[in-house]
């Protein structure tokens, strides 16, 4: 599996020769009008049903998918650096989906993680990638990651990210990021060695969102390995790309790599509108991510602007539509990111995780990346225990029916949905974990056990 040069050159060429569009026009006319037109054409308006946050209507998701193919072909990807649109025909979009793998692996030795396309209600255990690139102090990066890598449910590693490098603040787009690329690889390998899981596949480079981390850390001696790791290429918002993203793609090609994660998000309340528009936009963007970046894994996922998370009813519903549509109509290995807003050592974080992970497992994602503890806003607010809990739910709910999952979601949502706009910050790793033994505090463990009992009673088979 390698990056195809002809497809890469076609994308680069179109980034310089495609139709011109100004950003403001794109945001206020092109995206909202195309989304609105296709919602009408496929009779998708007002289909969101928050009372049933996990969709069970197959015909509905098929209509969403068809509308998304049209949307992707009509809109294309705006390159922010050239203000030109990289357009793909219906035929090219379908071909890109055919060429995407239905199965691929990352990692090595005993730790190889095999990603497979999953249908919804599929008993195949999905892949759990942890943690997200939440910032932590440089000196706790290794012990924290060691604690996470020791969790058997965790299959691959992405984060965390560090705010400083050898004591200096990392600044986006600066030479510090170039150094951070290799530094993160080195620290990650050390954490995996301590956990006895050296071969785990890695998503790179979380600390550096621009291309500099990939240029400085991927495919270089001592850095991330193209033959076993996967490069994160993230678009800033739906249906947009940039030189940053395309630089990363070129580096994957240069290094003889072939595994790319294509990711983005679409906000409820943002450019695509409400949950229906965001579902459509997310599916269309996913098709474009696979066409533009030759992705092996990834997707664009819905997010709710009102509370900056996706564990509320509308966002859950939108995720179920997006991933069921991709599952039924493609063979890709889709990935979602679950975005909780409550912090560690709170019941709410675990309830958000239970409902969100179950939704993704039954809706057919191949993998998920998380958790975004405390919304990812606070340094060191990330612990292994919530990652373990989310992984347990994710694996154990594979094979559950959507109907049963929807019933359970409706039982659990009242435990936290009222607090989404004002979620508890919780406690940091330093406050609720023993740094030497890597064990949670009694208080945090008790919360975990209490919520685990409650979700088991609600029907999640942990």
């Amino acid at each position: 599996m390698l990056i195809d040069r002809d497809r890469l050159m076609l994308v680069l060429d179109r980034a310089h020769t495609g139709p011109v569009c100004e950003n403001f026009k794109w945001d206020t006319e092109v995206i909202p009008k195309t989304i609105a037109t296709n919602l009408r054409k496929y009779e998708l308006q007002n289909t969101c049903n928050p009372d049933n946050p996990i969709n069970q209507d197959d015909e509905l998701v098929d209509r969403y998918f068809q509308a998304a193919v049209d949307t992707a072909a009509e809109v294309g990807m705006l390159c922010l650096d050239t203000h030109r649109v990289i357009k793909f025909s219906h035929k090219e979009i379908k071909k890109a989906l055919e060429l995407a793998p239905s199965e691929f692996a990352i990692g090595e030795g005993d730790e190889v993680a095999v990603f497979r396309h999953r249908s919804f209600e599929d008993p195949t255990p999905p892949i759990w990638i942890s943690p997200l690139s939440i910032a932590v102090d440089e000196d706790i990066f290794v012990p924290l990651l060691e604690g996470i890598a020791r969790i058997p449910e965790v299959d691959c590693i992405e984060g965390p990210s560090f705010e400083t490098i050898w004591g200096n603040k990392i600044r986006s787009g600066s030479p510090y990021e170039l150094l951070a690329g290799k530094r993160q690889a080195n620290l990650t390998y050390e954490a995996l060695r301590r956990a006895g899981r050296e071969g785990m596949g890695l998503y790179v480079v979380g600390t550096s969102p621009t291309h500099y981390g990939v240029l400085g850390g991927y495919g270089i001696p001592g850095g991330y390995k193209p033959e076993r790791d996967i490069v994160l290429i993230l678009s800033p918002v739906e249906m947009k790309t940039s030189y940053e993203a395309l630089h990363k793609l070129c580096q994957v090609y240069n290094c003889g790599g072939g595994r790319v994660y294509g990711g983005s998000w679409s906000m409820i309340g943002g450019y695509a509108g409400g949950p229906e528009g965001v579902s459509l936009s997310s599916i269309a963007t996913t098709l474009l991510l696979y066409a533009t970046y030759q992705a092996s894994n990834g997707a664009s996922f819905p997010y709710d602007m009102r509370y900056m998370g996706n564990c509320g009813r509308k966002a859950l519903w939108a995720q179920s539509i997006v991933f069921q549509a991709l599952s039924r109509n493609t063979h890709i290995c889709s990935n979602s990111v679950l975005n909780q807003v409550a912090g560690p050592a709170t019941e709410m974080l675990l309830y958000e995780s239970a409902v969100g992970m179950m939704n993704l497992a039954v809706s057919g994602v191949s993998s998920c990346t998380g958790t975004r503890s405390a919304g990812g806003k606070y340094t060191n607010y990330l612990t292994p225990l919530e990652i373990k809990f989310a992984g347990e739910v994710f694996k154990k709910t594979a094979g559950m029916s959507r109907e049963q999952a929807n019933d359970i979601a409706n039982k659990l949502l009242p435990s936290y949905e009222g607090q989404l706009g004002n979620a508890p910050k919780g406690k940091s790793f330093l406050e609720c974990y023993n740094q030497d033994t890597l064990q949670p505090s009694d208080e945090w463990l008790k919360i975990y056990e209490t919520v685990k009992d409650k979700v088991i009673k609600a029907g999640i088979p942990l």
């Binding site: 206020t28 990210s161 705010e163 986006s172 990021e177 918002v237 940039s242 906000m267």
Partner: protein, 234 residues
Amino acid sequence: MNKDRLLKQLKTAISGEENVKVVAGIAERVVEGGINIKVAIDAASQAIRLVGDRFEAGEIFLPELMLAGEKMKCCMAILQPYLKMDEKSEVSGRIVIGTVSGDIHDIGKNLVATMLTMGGFEVFDLGVDIAPFDFINAAKEKGADIIALSSLMTTSLPYQQEVIDLLKEMGLREKYYVIIGGGSVTAEFASKAGADGWAGNAATAIKLCDALLNSGETPPVAKTFVGQKGGNVC
């Protein structure tokens, strides 16, 4: 045309789906028709408040909000020069806004810029990936009162601090209030960085800017102003 009908058209065009050109045409007809400009501006302000309320209620979304903001800007540019001297009110304040270096995320910044425009501020949106020097140069050039910095990523946060540090080193810190916000920015960080204000959402940003400009304090303020959910600033 009947004056009341023209004013109604203006309100409908700003709050509805009409484009900027249509609003400009109506505003020009208002001027030509000899309608009291102050009354016309009040009508436009009512329309833009309605748009803000509809956005807050989740009835419309970011594109409609941004478009309404642009229409309001265009309308004011046409009407304001015709205000009688004694009717002219100073704008609430001038603000330069942008996403800091190394960060190309713009949803939050666009939302805040639009809300501030609708709140009566003159807003100069510099875009994304803006270097610290460029914020300061723009603030000087536009005669800004406030520099507003957005950042989504933890690795772009240091640039918010750098703008503040650079202002100090250039001897300009007392000239501009600096407010910061964005997905990764907390009130604690704002205080530590020495920012004058922080708000957790776009609606609160208006009250935050009003509070700073009416505080009587010269920047930097003694204690960072925090815009809380529900609109209170403390």
